[in-house]
C-alpha cells in the first residue's frame, strides 16, 4: 500500500497543473519542491504570453497557481529529492531532509531547469556578490551603475533592455552575435548606453572583496579586454535539473527526460512534464499542458494498479 497515489516532484507550472488535474481525478497527491512554488517563472518580471493573463508578474502568477492547488487541498512539502527507485511497480522517493521517504503508485517528474554557469575562475567567489542570474532581483540596485550582461539569446537581450533603462552603462559580452528575436536585438543595439562585444570567451572575473570587472577574449582576433563593472548578469542558457533521476535510465544525452505524447517515460508509472522533458518549446503554457496530460496519464495508470 503506497503513501500516495501520485507524487509530483517539482512545483513549477507543470507540477502545479499536474497536481490540480490529479486532485480532480480523485488521486491522493503529494507535491514536493526543494525551494518554493513557481520554478523559473518567479525570475520573470513580466509574463505576457500566458493566455488570459495579459501582462502578469511571474511570482504573482506562481502564487495564484499555488493557491489554486491549495483550494483542492494538494499536500505540499519542502523537500529535496535525492533519488527515485522502482520495485514491483511501487515508486519510492528518497529525500535529503530528515532522510524522508515516500511511496506512490506513480510519479511525475517536473524538476525544470536552472541557469547555466560559465564555470570560469572566480565565478563562484563573486556569485551573489557581484554576479547574478536574476535581473529582476538585483537590477534595481544597479541604478546608475556599470553593468555587464553575459549572453546574447532571448533572455539575455530582454533582460538587457530592462537593465539599459536603469543603469549608467551596459556592456554585452556574448559567445556569438545576438541571437534573440530581431526586433529585440535592434532595440538593444539602438540604446545609447549599450556596447556589445560579440564572439567573445569569458576568461575570468576580477576584483578585491567585491567584483571589479570581467576579462574576456575575442574568438575571432584573440584581442583581450577587461571591462570594469559593479554587477554582472549571466544569461547563457539553462540546464535540466534531473541529476537525481540519472539511475532510472530515462534521460537523453543532454539530461532531459524522454517522454512520449502521453508524457510517459519508459518506466511504467513514471511520467515527465515541463521544462525538464525533451521538447521544442519551453513556455509556461506548454509546461501547464504537459502537467495536465501527465496527470491524466498517471490517473489512468493508478486506476489500473488499484
Amino acid at each position: 500500500m503506497a503513501d500516495y497515489d501520485l507524487i509530483i516532484i517539482g512545483s513549477g507550472p507543470a507540477g502545479m497543473t499536474a497536481s490540480i488535474y490529479a486532485a480532480r481525478a480523485n488521486l491522493s497527491v503529494l507535491m514536493l519542491d526543494k525551494l518554493a512554488p513557481g520554478g523559473q517563472i518567479i525570475n520573470t518580471n513580466e509574463i505576457q504570453n500566458y493566455t488570459g493573463m495579459g501582462t502578469i508578474n511571474g511570482a504573482e502568477l506562481a502564487i495564484q497557481m499555488f493557491q489554486h492547488t491549495q483550494e483542492l487541498q494538494v499536500a505540499f512539502d519542502y523537500k529535496t529529492v535525492r533519488e527515485v527507485k522502482v520495485e514491483d511497480g511501487l515508486k519510492t522517493v528518497f529525500c535529503e531532509e530528515d532522510d524522508a521517504v515516500y511511496t506512490a503508485y506513480a510519479v511525475i517528474l517536473c524538476t525544470g531547469t536552472r541557469p547555466r554557469m560559465l564555470g570560469v575562475e572566480h565565478e563562484t567567489r563573486y556569485a551573489g556578490n557581484g554576479i547574478s542570474w536574476c535581473a529582476i532581483c538585483d537590477g534595481a540596485a544597479c541604478r546608475g551603475k556599470d553593468v555587464v550582461v553575459v549572453g546574447g539569446g532571448n533572455s539575455a537581450v530582454e533582460e538587457s533592455i530592462y537593465l539599459a533603462e536603469i543603469v549608467k552603462s551596459l556592456t554585452i559580452v556574448t559567445m556569438f552575435d545576438l541571437t534573440a528575436d530581431p526586433i529585440a536585438c535592434d532595440k538593444l543595439r539602438g540604446m545609447e548606453n549599450v556596447k556589445i562585444y560579440p564572439y567573445q570567451d569569458v576568461l575570468d572575473f576580477y576584483g578585491e572583496k567585491k567584483l571589479g570587472g570581467i576579462h574576456f577574449k575575442s574568438t575571432e582576433t584573440g584581442e583581450e579586454n577587461r571591462v570594469a563593472c559593479d554587477q554582472v548578469f549571466e544569461y547563457i542558457g539553462l540546464t535540466p535539473t534531473t541529476e537525481c533521476f540519472k539511475d532510472l535510465g530515462i534521460l537523453n544525452e543532454m539530461g532531459y527526460v524522454k517522454v512520449d505524447a502521453q508524457m510517459a517515460t519508459e518506466i511504467p508509472g513514471i511520467f515527465g512534464a515541463g521544462d525538464c522533458v525533451t521538447k521544442n518549446l519551453r513556455q509556461v503554457i506548454t509546461a501547464c499542458a504537459d502537467g495536465a496530460i501527465a496527470a491524466q496519464s498517471a490517473a489512468r495508470y493508478v486506476q489500473g494498479m488499484k
Partner: protein, 102 residues
C-alpha cells in the same frame, strides 16, 4: 512576528533577542517567494525569532551598514550581532535549521 519595518522600527528591535532580517527588492520574484516561505517559517519559529522585512529601496542606510549586495538576503542576528547570512531564495528547512541552531 513577520512584518515590513522602517529604519527606525528596525533599529528599535534589532538588539533584542533573535532577529531575522529579510532584505528585499520589491521588483524581485525570488524575494516575493521568500516572503511566502517565511510565512511558513513563522508558523514554526515565530515565538523564537522576530522576522523583519527591509525594503532596500526605502532603507539605503541599512543596506550600506549591513553590506547587502543582492536580493533577497537573510541576516540572522542575536542582540544585534550577526550570526549567519544567506543570499537568494532559501529552503524552508534550511532557514528553520539556521534559527534553531542559533
Amino acid at each position: 512576528m513577520l512584518r515590513e519595518v522602517t529604519e527606525d522600527e528596525f533599529r528599535q528591535s534589532v538588539n533584542e533577542g533573535l532577529v531575522l532580517a529579510d532584505f528585499f527588492s520589491s521588483t524581485c520574484g525570488p524575494c516575493k517567494m521568500l516572503s511566502f516561505v517565511l510565512a511558513d517559517v513563522e508558523k514554526v519559529c515565530g515565538e523564537k525569532v522576530n522576522i523583519m522585512k527591509v525594503d532596500f529601496d526605502k532603507n539605503k542606510k541599512l543596506v550600506e551598514e549591513y553590506e547587502v549586495s543582492g536580493y533577497p538576503t537573510l541576516i540572522l542576528m542575536r542582540d544585534g550581532a550577526e550570526l549567519k547570512r544567506m543570499s537568494g531564495l532559501q529552503q524552508k528547512p534550511a532557514i528553520i535549521r539556521m534559527i534553531e541552531e542559533a
